[in-house]
Each structure stands twice: as structure tokens, then as C-alpha cells.
């Protein structure tokens, strides 16, 4: 009798954790990744990972972590899955420690903890300022062990193109393309887990890696998966501006004592400490990003008259900075030239993280049976704003849910995918080969790279920190025009081998489909909640909008539905950071 097999797409934290969990259950995994998995975007996470270890004598608890996460997310996240995540966090982080993650240590040899935004307790475990890299490497090593044992087969430098869905509507595998030979392959699997990350590239410039296009999510959205809460885009308050990308300057800089300021009336003005005395520099990211926007754009008080403010570490001892924040200090020095130990860094907010993603049930399965989503590409754990250091946690945790859930699903199947016949595979393969041939033959006038840059600029201008309905409508029109212009692309590369331009052109179409979901999702939501801010509707509106957005693909554009949010544990209250959380609870 044939054995079930599971396909995991994406070799970042979520994908590797899911792979590990499945291999441990004795089920083989085909692991498909755009890049060698060790180079996945998880390496970019800097500051740390949250778990209420309570080793600092502060009386921290998993409930407090849960409450901070829900409150920080402006009550849009379904509460039960978030509660489960926070309760699992300490065990999960101790497990990562056993796997050899080089977490920074206290003098006693315990894992050290630092403070992060939107919380009053030290709850963030870290490895200097390269925590994502260190966690990813540990998962990479464990998966390599399973690979050496024959349980995992890697397909690196492959791009997922679409899911294979049989006539019962069940996912039976996927189609993926070898980025070197350009050959298109059929992969048979009894479940497919997409762990394909966010889509910062839709905004052109972001803190994301260049592979973060949301291409896979968009492909299955066009096959029937719902996208949820895509209008919630985290803008990280402190990033370095650059021509090619905006480089993240970790929140841990503020967690370890960094201060944000600009000049006002010739004197340093610590505006976050001034406006939010209870949390100071450690307000959640949406609040800090809007404050910096206000100071620069509305008040015209940016440093040197430009859109930038200072993030200042220069008052802290060099030895402390090297040990705790060496990773980001190195990035700033290498890419900017100045030494943050001596002069304040110049920063401005940049697109950072997608709170929204593919809609799934609480076991991470999408509307298509057998197709799962896990990690940043799902919508589950962050509501309307993600707290710092919760992304590494949700990526790891979701893998511990999606992996075992997929394993359970495949062992319960009446018929394995290897037994359903070749028809659904042949059909989907044909569709992808035809699309590929069509794109290869495009010899119009538009350059795909330039078109992408224009789209990114429009998205940054109209759908970022501050949103107006007029601009959102205009942006949707621009996107539709661009989709017409896309049809006139010239695929400038005529080499049949390793053709990145053909792949980029295909990704660009999928990014445009997703850009419309983000734009129209934002247009529909006439309130301000978490990262989504409309000056025309400055308040949160629970009666109308305490709801999950669900977008379904149609040939004419996304169709929207709404779903109730699970608020079974904590009653929604007003989110304010100028006073302590206890006061906010009293005020309701």
C-alpha cells in the first residue's frame, strides 16, 4: 500500500517547523522553496521572540502575553488561537533552546529577556539582534537531519505555481517550476502546506526580502482560497531608507534603551515619551509609525527638513550595544556609513509585515480541503496590528499546528493522491504550461521591472500609513490600468535557461491581483483600527467592523464578505497607550 506524503511550500520558520513535525510522525515531506531554505526571509527578523518565561521576577504570565497581543491587535484577532499560541510559547522557546539556538544569556546561564513594544514586562528572548536568523538556522539544521535520514526531499530554487485540485474540490498536490531549467513539474501530495510568507514587494520597497511577493497566496486565491484582513499592513516605525529596500532597525533598539527624537524650537524633542508617557518609546508599531508620520509630514519637523527622525543609541555603553545590538549596528554602519554608537541613526517608517493572509480554520486549513496555510501568509494571530517579537512566535507556533493537522488529515483520507489518477494533475499542468508559454512570448512595450516600481509607488502613496477613500478608489483604478499595461509587457530576456524575467512577470500579475484585495479591503473598512488609519473615520467602530474581512476572487475583482470575530475571552475595550493597561481596563 502506498504511503501518504505531504508537500510543504516555503522553507522559512513556519515551513521548516511544519516539516519537522510531519517527519517526526513518520510521514515523508517534499519541501519546495524559492531559495536554499537557509536563505529564507525569516533570517531578517532581528529583535526576538516572545514567550512569558517570567524569569525576571515581574510576575509575567501567558495570560498577560495573550491580553497584550489581543489589545495590541485592536481586538481583531480570533482570541482562542491566540490564547493557545501564548500558552504554548514557553515550551516552544525552551524546545528551540534545546535545539541549539544561541539565545543571549544571563550571568546565571539562563536565557536573557528584553522588553518589546506594547508590553510592560520583559518577555522577549533574543540572540543579539539576529534572532530570526538563529531560529531559522536551528530549524534548518533539524530538517537537514531529517533530510539525511531520507524523510525530507528538498526542491530548492523552485517556485510554486498553483494547487492541483480534483473534481471533488480537494487539493491533491501542486505544480511548481524549476527556476534554473524553467521546467514545470507536477508534485503529488496528500496535503499541501503553504508557508510562503508576506508580500512586502507589493509595495515596491519594504523591509522584506525580494522573494516576498505573496505570489503563492495570490495563485491559490485565484483558485478559491479566501484572503482575510489584507488591508492590515504593518508599517515598522524605524527603518533606514534606501534605493533598493528599506532596511529594518529593530524595535529591540528601543527595547534596550534607544530613544526617538527630533528637534523642536532648537531643542531635542522626545515626542513618543511626551505623547505616550505610560509606554514611551515602546508604544506598539502602528502608534509609533503614525507619530513619526505626524511629526515629519504634518508638523514639518523632520531632521534636516527631510522625512526622517533620530533613533538614538549613542547614550548607551558601546560594550552593551555590541553585545545586544551588534547585528543591526553592523547593518547601519555598512549601509549608511555612520556609527550608531556615536551618532543617532536616521530612520523613517517602512512597510514591514502582513497581518492578513489566507483564511483558514483554526487548524490552518483553507477553504480547499488538503490545502493549508501557515506563518505570515495566514491571517490568524495578529489582528489589526502585530506586536514586536510575536511574528517569530506565530511562525514557529503555526508550524506546530499546521504540520500535525496536515499529518492527521492525510492519515484519515479514503483515497491517497497517488490513487486518484492523473487527470487533475494533467489539467493543471497544462494550464500552467500554457500561461508560461504565453508570458515567454510577450513582446510589448512595458518593462516589467519599471511597471512594478510604479505599482509600488502608488501603493506606498495611497495605501500605507494614512488612508483616504478618494485615494483608495483612485489607487484601484490605477491598479486596473496597470493590469491592462501588464498585457503589453516585453519580457526582455530571451534565454530559455534561468529566466528570472519570465518568473518576475508572472509574479507581477499575482502581486497586482493581491494589491487590489489590499486596496479595496481598506476602502471597505470605514473605521480606524490598529495599522488601518483613516482620518475621515478616526475611531474604531466595533458594531460595524469588529469583523474579519474575507475576499473571494472573481474575474471582475475581489468580492468581499465578513465574518464574526471570536471574542470569547477578553471583552473589547478602547486601546490607549498614554495610560497603563490597568486604567484602560477600568475605562472599558
Amino acid at each position: 500500500m502506498s504511503q501518504p506524503k505531504i508537500i510543504v511550500v516555503g522553507g522559512g520558520l513556519a515551513g521548516l517547523m511544519a516539516t519537522m513535525k510531519i517527519a517526526e510522525k513518520g510521514i515523508k515531506v517534499d519541501l519546495i522553496s524559492l531559495v536554499p531554505v537557509k536563505r529564507s526571509h525569516s533570517v531578517c527578523a532581528q529583535g526576538g521572540v516572545n514567550a512569558a518565561l517570567d524569569t525576571k521576577g515581574e510576575g509575567d504570565s501567558t495570560w498577560e502575553h495573550f491580553d497584550d497581543t489581543i489589545y495590541g491587535g485592536d481586538f481583531l484577532a480570533n482570541q482562542t488561537p491566540v490564547k493557545n499560541m501564548c500558552e504554548s510559547a514557553p515550551g516552544l522557546i525552551y524546545t528551540m533552546d534545546r535545539m541549539g539556538v544561541m539565545f543571549s544569556r544571563t550571568p546565571e546561564g539562563l536565557m536573557d529577556l528584553r522588553r518589546f513594544g506594547g508590553t510592560k514586562n520583559r518577555r522577549t528572548a533574543f540572540s543579539g539582534a539576529t534572532t530570526g536568523q538563529q531560529l531559522l538556522y536551528a530549524c534548518d539544521e533539524q530538517v537537514r537531519k531529517h533530510e539525511a535520514a531520507g524523510m525530507v526531499t528538498k526542491y530548492e530554487n523552485f517556485e510554486f505555481l498553483s494547487a492541483v485540485i480534483d473534481d471533488q474540490g480537494t487539493c491533491r498536490g501542486c505544480i511548481a517550476q524549476d527556476l534554473n531549467t524553467m521546467e514545470i513539474h507536477k508534485f503529488v501530495g496528500d496535503a499541501v502546506i503553504l508557508a510562503t510568507g508576506g508580500g512586502g514587494m507589493i509595495f515596491g520597497k519594504s523591509t522584506n526580502s525580494v522573494i516576498c511577493t505573496a505570489n503563492a497566496a495570490s495563485a491559490v486565491y485565484q483558485q478559491g482560497v479566501y484572503m482575510s484582513n489584507m488591508e492590515f499592513i504593518q508599517i515598522h516605525p524605524t527603518a533606514m531608507l534606501g534605493d533598493d529596500k528599506t532596511r529594518l532597525m529593530s524595535e529591540s533598539a528601543r527595547g534596550d534603551g534607544g530613544r526617538v527624537w527630533t528637534y523642536k524650537d532648537g531643542k531635542p524633542w522626545y515626542f513618543l515619551e511626551d505623547w505616550y508617557p505610560a509606554y514611551g518609546n515602546l508604544v506598539p508599531r502602528d502608534i509609533a509609525a503614525r507619530a513619526i508620520y505626524k511629526v515629519c509630514i504634518e508638523m514639518g519637523l523632520g531632521v534636516d527638513g527631510k522625512n526622517q527622525v533620530y533613533l538614538d543609541l549613542s547614550h548607551l555603553p558601546s560594550e552593551f550595544l555590541n553585545r545586544r545590538l551588534g547585528g543591526i549596528i553592523e547593518i547601519y554602519e555598512k549601509f549608511h556609513g555612520d556609527d550608531p554608537r556615536k551618532v543617532p541613526m536616521k530612520i523613517f517608517p517602512g512597510v514591514h509585515y502582513f497581518m492578513g493572509g489566507m483564511h483558514t480554520d483554526w487548524n490552518h486549513m483553507t477553504a480547499i480541503p488538503g490545502l493549508f496555510a501557515s506563518g505570515e501568509c495566514d491571517y490568524m494571530y495578529h489582528g489589526a496590528n502585530r506586536l514586536g517579537a510575536n511574528s517569530l512566535l506565530s511562525a514557529l507556533y503555526s508550524g506546530t499546528v499546521s504540520g500535525p493537522a496536515a499529518a492527521k488529515y492525510v492519515t484519515g483520507l479514503k483515497k491517497l493522491s497517488s490513487e486518484v489518477g492523473s487527470k487533475p494533475f494533467d489539467q493543471e499542468y497544462k494550464r500552467q504550461v500554457e500561461w508560461d508559454e504565453k508570458v515567454k512570448k510577450m513582446h510589448g512595450k512595458e518593462n516589467p521591472f519599471q511597471l512594478h516600481e510604479e505599482m509600488g509607488k502608488a501603493m506606498l502613496k495611497n495605501v500605507a500609513i494614512v488612508r483616504y477613500n478618494k485615494n483608495l478608489k483612485e489607487n484601484d483604478n490605477i491598479l486596473q490600468e496597470m493590469m491592462e499595461r501588464w498585457k503589453n509587457i516585453n519580457v526582455v530576456d530571451n534565454n530559455a535557461y534561468g529566466n528570472q524575467t519570465v518568473m518576475y512577470t508572472k509574479q507581477l500579475w499575482n502581486m497586482m491581483e493581491m494589491a487590489r484585495v489590499i486596496t479595496l479591503g481598506a476602502l471597505n473598512r470605514n473605521e480606524s483600527r490598529g495599522s488601518h488609519y483613516k482620518p475621515e473615520f478616526p475611531d474604531r467602530n466595533d458594531p460595524d467592523f469588529l469583523k474579519t474581512t474575507k475576499a473571494k476572487w472573481t474575474p471582475k475583482g475581489p468580492k468581499f464578505e465578513w465574518e464574526e470575530v471570536d471574542i470569547s475571552w477578553i471583552k473589547p475595550r478602547k486601546r490607549v497607550y498614554n495610560v497603563d493597561k490597568e486604567v484602560s481596563k477600568k475605562n472599558g
Partner: protein
């Protein structure tokens, strides 16, 4: 006068074709790097002879020098293209001089500046570069680890498997089968971890095999080119000492 950045790029269409040189010029802007320059070229891929060309193919991902993808030879030096700032290069070579981009030479070329570094990941398998935990389930707190040891171990664990040390090492070649400085250095990391050290013999055995430690010719090039400043030669020396001790012990216990 308009200012230009000038590139001389070694190009190759696929693994089995011969390379050729092609030159490009793009308008100068401050604060550019090699990756952002290649991105400019692909927006209008026309070479200095005015001929239409294909966009240059290269690997890149994070653009923050933490993923290791964009490693190539820049003016003969193996390094990451994202952190190769044009202004810094021109401070050394003079403004407008051609910046030479080539693929790494120790790995098979895929296309243009892109190479296949699979061998490095295979070498990590050979030396069993992992902590053999019983499983990924939560049991208890991990072992204590001193801050002092953490400091140097953390430095090793920042290795991106980028290949700079392999490229710089004269002993890495198809004949020697040398696993290279980074894989040896990783053994030191796993052998200091409290759980990893329970299995240190299996890694020391791997280092004593063909292509292992004995292939190191002590040229000390590796540490000069490591972008993360990992003290590779110190780590290799430490592993040398460990394997000698281990070999003697093994011989005595025969």
C-alpha cells in the same frame, strides 16, 4: 556632466556554455550598491555598445547581508553584492572605473553571476551540523549555558554559508574534496553546545575523513574574507587540537 557607474560583467547563458564579458553603464546616484545597480540595469538592459541585452541574472534575497545569497566576486574579491557600496568602491578605485563582477569560481555556474552552492549544505550533512534532540516537542527548560561561551559560539552561529571562505581558500578544489573552513567551524559550535557535545565524537570522526581537516593548508585566507568576521582560523586550530586528542584517546583505547 552626467556621471555614470561602469560595470564589466562576466556572463554565461547556462552551465555548459562559455563565458563572455559585457559592459554596462548606468547613471550615478549616491548610496547605490551592486544589487541596486543590477536592478537598474534590468530596467533597461542595453550594453555600452548600445546593443539590447538580457537582464543580468544573479541571486539575492535579504539585501541586508544576513542571507548570504548575493555573494559574487567584485573587483576580484568574494563578498555580498548588497553591502558592496558603489561610493566606497570608487573611493578606492577612482570614480567611473569599471567595476568587475564575476561569479564565484569554486562552484558550478548556473547563469551569469549565479552559482550552485549545494556542496556547502552537503558538507554540513557530512559533519552532522545539528543538535540531536530527541524531538521537537516541549519537555523542559534547555540546558544552562554560560554567557562567556555564548559570546563566541554566537559568533560562529552567524555563518550564512555564503561561500566567501571557500572561494578564498586555495585548498578548496575538486581534487581535494576539502569541506572548507565554514563546515569545520560549525563543528566547534555544535561541540560546545551542552546537548550537541554529547555527540561530539561523530563530528570529530567526520573531520578526520578524506576532505576533512587534513586538507587545510593553513593559508589563513578564509578569515580575511569572512563577512561576519568569524575567527575561522581560531576555530580550525581548536578543532585540530580536539581531533588530535580524540585520535590519541581512540588509539589508546584500541
Amino acid at each position: 556632466m552626467d556621471k555614470f557607474i561602469h560595470f564589466k560583467i562576466k556572463r554565461q547563458d547556462k552551465p555548459d556554455t562559455s563565458p563572455r564579458w559585457e559592459e554596462f553603464k548606468i547613471p550615478y546616484k549616491p548610496n547605490m550598491n551592486v544589487v541596486s545597480s543590477l536592478m537598474e540595469i534590468r530596467k533597461n538592459p542595453v550594453n555600452t555598445k548600445g546593443e539590447k541585452s538580457n537582464p543580468v541574472v544573479w541571486e539575492c534575497n535579504c539585501l541586508e547581508e544576513v542571507c548570504g545569497a548575493c555573494t559574487m566576486r567584485i573587483n576580484g574579491v568574494p563578498r555580498q553584492a548588497c553591502s558592496a557600496l558603489i561610493d566606497k568602491i570608487y573611493e578606492k578605485t577612482g570614480f567611473g572605473t569599471p567595476i568587475v563582477l564575476e561569479p564565484l569560481t569554486k562552484f558550478p555556474v548556473v547563469r551569469d553571476l549565479m552559482v550552485d552552492r549545494t556542496i556547502m549544505f552537503e558538507n554540513l550533512k557530512k559533519v552532522k551540523a545539528w543538535v540531536p534532540v530527541d524531538g521537537s516537542w516541549a519537555i523542559d527548560r534547555g540546558p544552562r549555558f554560560t554567557d562567556r561561551e555564548h559570546r563566541w559560539a554566537y559568533q560562529i552561529s552567524r555563518c550564512m554559508t555564503c561561500g566567501c571562505c571557500m572561494e578564498a581558500c586555495p585548498n578548496v578544489n575538486s581534487k581535494s574534496g576539502f569541506i572548507g573552513p565554514s563546515a569545520i567551524s560549525q563543528v566547534r559550535l555544535f561541540n560546545v553546545h551542552p546537548i550537541g557535545s554529547m555527540h561530539k565524537e561523530m563530528r570529530l570522526d567526520a573531520l578526520m575523513e578524506k576532505g576533512g581537516l587534513q586538507e587545510c593548508g593553513n593559508s589563513q585566507n578564509c578569515k580575511e574574507f569572512c563577512p561576519k568576521e568569524i575567527p575561522l582560523t581560531v576555530n580550525i586550530a581548536a578543532m585540530n587540537k580536539e581531533t588530535i586528542k580524540y585520535a590519541i584517546k581512540k588509539w589508546l583505547n584500541k
